[in-house]
């Protein structure tokens, strides 16, 4: 039987397939979230199953996580991203003590116990200023593709000071910076620094290392460095960070999937 993790996020839907022992990564994929989370998740799952020559009847358990986790009707259970990212990161980084996850519309900081379970967590408040949404707004305003922001930020010479605590007002601030002919590279670097600073604020006075960075925003070059500077600690990007939540969900599904008869 196959164990399935579905991470139905605000910006992207991710699905991971594992063998029941949780050892073999059978397939994984991500698509835009769309407006119908269950339909999008089901279509992605079916495509991944087809790609590896399997069918729905081969699926053991399905765990859904992410913003729309409760909307995934074919899942056996819904588990928060907090738990799933902790499980996913521990799989790829068994010594992880702190996990920072920045997604499309929220950011989280997890402290892990020595056994890998979540000891405590913090999430960003109401505003999306510390999340991937901030980067999307900047990319749109600058006319730069999202995945081109990192390269642009590398050219920064003096990161702009982005003082706003709110994405909407921050956009106004960016318009003002552009009007003052601030270099786009400096604006992007400033936004990355602003996001990192907000996330670091959730950590309080103490950050246990090693720190691992997951979520879609971790894929953007320069963010890990900005985060490391803000936290005052080295930050490693988890392998395939966008898939960490789905991986964790799939691993939790493995715990629910009964072993194959005779195995």
């Amino acid at each position: 039987m196959i164990c399935v993790g579905v991470d139905s996020g605000s910006r992207a839907t991710k699905v991971a397939l594992l063998d029941p022992a949780g050892e073999l990564f059978l397939a994984a994929g991500a698509v835009d979230a769309g407006l119908k989370p269950e339909a999008v998740s089901a279509a992605l799952l079916d495509r991944l199953l087809s790609d590896c020559g399997r069918r729905r009847s081969d699926v053991g358990a399905v765990i859904a996580t992410g913003y729309a986790r409760h909307a995934i009707g074919f899942a056996d259970a819904a588990v928060t991203e907090i738990t799933c990212h902790a499980v996913g990161v521990r799989r790829v980084a068994p010594d992880a003590a702190t996990v920072v996850e920045i997604g499309g519309q929220d950011a989280k900081l997890l402290r892990l116990a020595p056994d890998g379970t979540v000891q405590d967590f913090a999430m960003n408040d109401r505003c999306a200023a510390g999340t991937g949404r901030f980067l999307e707004v900047v990319a749109a305003r600058l006319g730069v593709p999202l995945d081109g922001l990192g390269a642009l930020a590398r050219a920064a010479t003096a990161p702009a000071a982005i003082s706003s605590m709110c994405v909407v007002f921050a956009e106004t601030e960016i318009i003002g910076l552009l009007a003052q002919e601030t270099a786009p590279a400096d604006i992007v670097a400033g936004v990355q620094k602003s996001i990192a600073t907000r996330v670091a604020g959730m950590a309080g006075r103490r950050v246990e290392t090693p720190v691992f960075f997951t979520g879609g925003v971790a894929r953007i070059p320069g963010m890990a460095e900005a985060l490391a500077e803000a936290l005052g600690a080295p930050v490693a990007v988890a392998p395939d960070p966008q898939m960490t939540g789905a991986l964790g969900a799939a691993l939790l599904a493995c715990r629910r999937t009964p072993p194959k008869p005779g195995a």
């Binding site: 738990t83 379970t117 405590d120 999430m123």
Partner: protein
């Protein structure tokens, strides 16, 4: 968990009550009884979005809470003197109820009106129009209630503490006074620890304060007493005040017993929503001290029966959560339980109204000591210490620190309390913000509560 022990909608509650009334053994009659739906017809539409405990005692609790405006109107019509006791949360009410012919009420309790009326009354909008915008606590709804005069009669005397109390309430009350509602202000100093060698007095809740501070508060309350004497034309005797303190303590003792049972029973015997409402009654007796006592006794009887039968209103493995600060949207309490949690301790910012008033001290001294034990007038560290101590006592597995947007105390104290709980107890803490309308924030609040419950469950197997 079966039948009436399940969470029910208001419609189901009313159907259940109607069936009980038609049965051979109907529930005993009680004051303010009636279908809960009638309160919705009055405009409390948010009540339709809650789920309720089906016990007759809980229905009685709701009917009592939701008829306070009727009670106050009847009191005014009967010629009773109405006293609006603002901010001190319990002390002035205990004093005012010592007078014959006086009904005291929690004027600033109007902050709850938008929580149950879908904002259709526009009380917050009225407050904004008077310069009290979203930067302030929803207690600003009180100003709107004074302007519309639709929720309670204008009191004959308004009393408010000022100083080391809630800045938001002070701002709102000052604006209220500028609109032509005179207020008797009495000052509350910032409670501090006694200096070495300084004469000190023990306060309720295990606190201590300099004797000079207690004497000062006693003097201030003396002014309040003289004003009440003047209002009523009755010179209150210490014997009458002592009797009122004993009566207040009888109410508090019932609530203390209820809290102990609810927080310690293996299977949760009362939902979080009804528990929060029950605690709020103690502050000002919901304009009827005697009925408050009877409501508590009915709740105690229902809870004891559930505990004795081993039945609860939630699954037995619900995660034990200590809850800090009241919520502005009552759905948050339902949500805690939907996410797999249960209450096992609370600090709704008025612990001093739950502790017994000292009966071994002279009555005005007793009131002063109780007033100075207000968690809002002392260091956040004092409050955090009590929360940590109670969390241990009641076996909390996790802590929720709830904030009310604009409420200055919530903003400043939340982080300090969370840090103290994490540091001393190592418990997971979720900080959430619960505005009067949580609709837009519901997914975020739910995610935090679910994650907290998952985290606490994972710790069980560690």
């Amino acid at each position: 968990m079966t039948g009436a022990d399940r969470p029910l909608t208001m419609e189901q509650i009313d159907a259940l009550c109607a069936a009980r009334a038609a049965s051979p053994r109907p529930d005993p009659p009680y004051p303010y009884a009636g279908p809960l739906a009638r309160h919705v017809r009055d405009g409390d539409r948010r009540l339709l979005r809650l789920t309720y405990d089906g016990s007759p005692a809980s229905v009685r609790l709701w009917n009592f809470l939701l008829t306070e405006d009727e009670r106050l109107a009847q009191a005014r019509a009967a010629g009773r003197r109405l006293v609006g006791a603002m901010k001190d949360l319990g002390t002035v009410a205990a004093l005012a109820y010592a007078y014959p012919g006086v009904t005291a009420f929690y004027t600033d309790g109007a902050w709850w009106i938008p929580c149950v009326m879908e904002m259709s009354e526009g009380l917050l909008g009225i407050a904004s129009a008077h310069g009290l915008g979203e930067g302030l606590c929803p207690v600003r709804a009180m100003l709107g209630a004074f302007v519309t005069r639709r929720h309670f009669p204008i009191p004959d005397l308004l009393i408010a503490s000022v100083g080391a109390v809630c800045d938001d309430l002070s701002a709102v009350a000052q604006r209220l006074e500028s609109l032509g509602h005179p207020i008797l202000w009495w000052e509350m100093p910032a409670r501090r620890a006694p200096e070495p060698g300084e004469p000190a007095v023990a306060l309720p809740g295990g606190l201590r304060a300099p004797a000079a501070q207690v004497a000062f508060v006693r003097g201030e309350l003396g002014r309040v007493r003289r004003a009440l004497d003047g209002l009523t034309g009755h010179a209150l005797t210490d014997a009458e005040l002592a009797a009122a303190i004993r009566a207040a303590n009888a109410v508090r003792a019932r609530l203390a017993a209820l809290r102990e049972l609810v927080f310690t029973a293996p299977a949760c015997p009362l939902p979080a929503l009804e528990h929060q409402i029950a605690e709020m009654l103690a502050v000002h007796f919901c304009s009827d001290r005697d009925e408050t006592l009877r409501v508590y006794e009915a709740l105690l009887e229902a809870v004891r029966a559930r505990v004795a039968a081993g039945t609860g209103v939630l699954p037995a493995d619900a995660v034990r959560v200590f809850w800090v600060n009241p919520v502005a949207d009552l759905r948050a309490m339902n949500l805690l339980e939907a996410c797999g949690g249960r209450l096992c301790g609370t600090d709704f910012l008025f612990c001093h109204a739950l502790d017994p008033l000292p009966e071994d001290a002279e009555p005005m001294e007793a009131l002063a000591r109780a007033a100075l034990a207000d968690p809002m007038v002392g260091p956040a560290a004092d409050r955090a210490a009590r929360i940590a101590s109670d969390a241990v006592r009641f076996g909390a597995e996790a802590v929720v620190v709830s904030r009310i947007p604009g409420a200055s105390h919530c903003a400043w104290e939340g982080a300090a309390i969370a840090e103290a709980v994490r540091g001393r107890l190592g418990l997971p803490v979720a900080e959430i913000e619960v505005p009067p309308l949580t609709d837009a924030l519901a997914p975020s609040i739910r995610a935090r509560l679910e994650a907290l419950v998952e985290t606490a469950r994972a710790r069980r197997t560690r």
